[in-house]
Symmetry: C2
Subunit: 189 residues, 2 copies
Amino acid sequence: MIMNETIKTILSRRSVRAYQQEQIKEEELMTILEAGRFSPSGMNRQSWLFTVVQSKEMLKKINEACRNSLLKSGNPAMEERARRSDFSAFYNAPTLIIVSGDKNLMTAQYDCTLALGYMFLAAASLNIGSCWVHGITVMLNSEDGKELKKELGIPEEYQVYSSGAFGYKATEPTCPPKKQLDEIMKIIK
Amino acid sequence: MIMNETIKTILSRRSVRAYQQEQIKEEELMTILEAGRFSPSGMNRQSWLFTVVQSKEMLKKINEACRNSLLKSGNPAMEERARRSDFSAFYNAPTLIIVSGDKNLMTAQYDCTLALGYMFLAAASLNIGSCWVHGITVMLNSEDGKELKKELGIPEEYQVYSSGAFGYKATEPTCPPKKQLDEIMKIIK
């Protein structure tokens, strides 16, 4: 295998589920957003919106909405998690980036997924942790999340496709078990 | 903005639509696949299959199937493109990577999109071009593509979510027009 800085970033990035409370620097945030801006999109439409939430009040509001959403999920494990007093849907990360896109476009989910994925790698290259937070996406697209989505300034015709937590790592995560390449690939020569 | 090798790779990668016929090296292919293997997946399930096609015969077969699919699309511009004798659904790239995932999993589309996106960046870091090819995905998931999907060894319960062309660039692509960051972001502090 060939190694360079980009490959090293890709192979060493882990999902981070414990964050420091110190906010990431403005310059770091802008660099992460630039990575999303330069990710590819179907027909180069770039029909996306990157909503960054750093306000403590808004983070709390989002967390409570996620809690309520989980409490109604019908999944006992999820409900138990949501009842905990220290529940955080996004691991207490100080920054959330919510990526929404025009729901009328066939490529919106792909575009928004790639944008957040590229932001994850940019963050990793700056030693900033990140994690996909599907619960925020689900909550904001639900009937109950409608008001909050509006409050966040996400247009009605936009759907949330990907949401991520960002911040300095509180601990260094280990690598989860990975399948070997020959289990997941097939080459037709 | 902060600059490093990873950020440079992300910002400078362009979708490549003209390829050399020389095949990429085995070591380069393996490095690209490793990047996909290390991309994050929902609950770390890694329920994906990376199907690499380099056989000229199979590439031709896939191209003809894409051509037939476009000829039936009902879209006049697409049909005209498909009628051209030099039609190539994947810009004559020598390598295709088709990413499929377990269609019963809620996160499959996200997982497969991230995997291909990370492969794009690994390729870019090796100066190898790549392009998303949605037509292959659409064709292989259609009724008409069923037999070919089987021939490619993609399990029936798997759906194709992302397909990409890879190869050495024949020309250096220019940057398409990009929206400014302030048009696509909103920060709530």
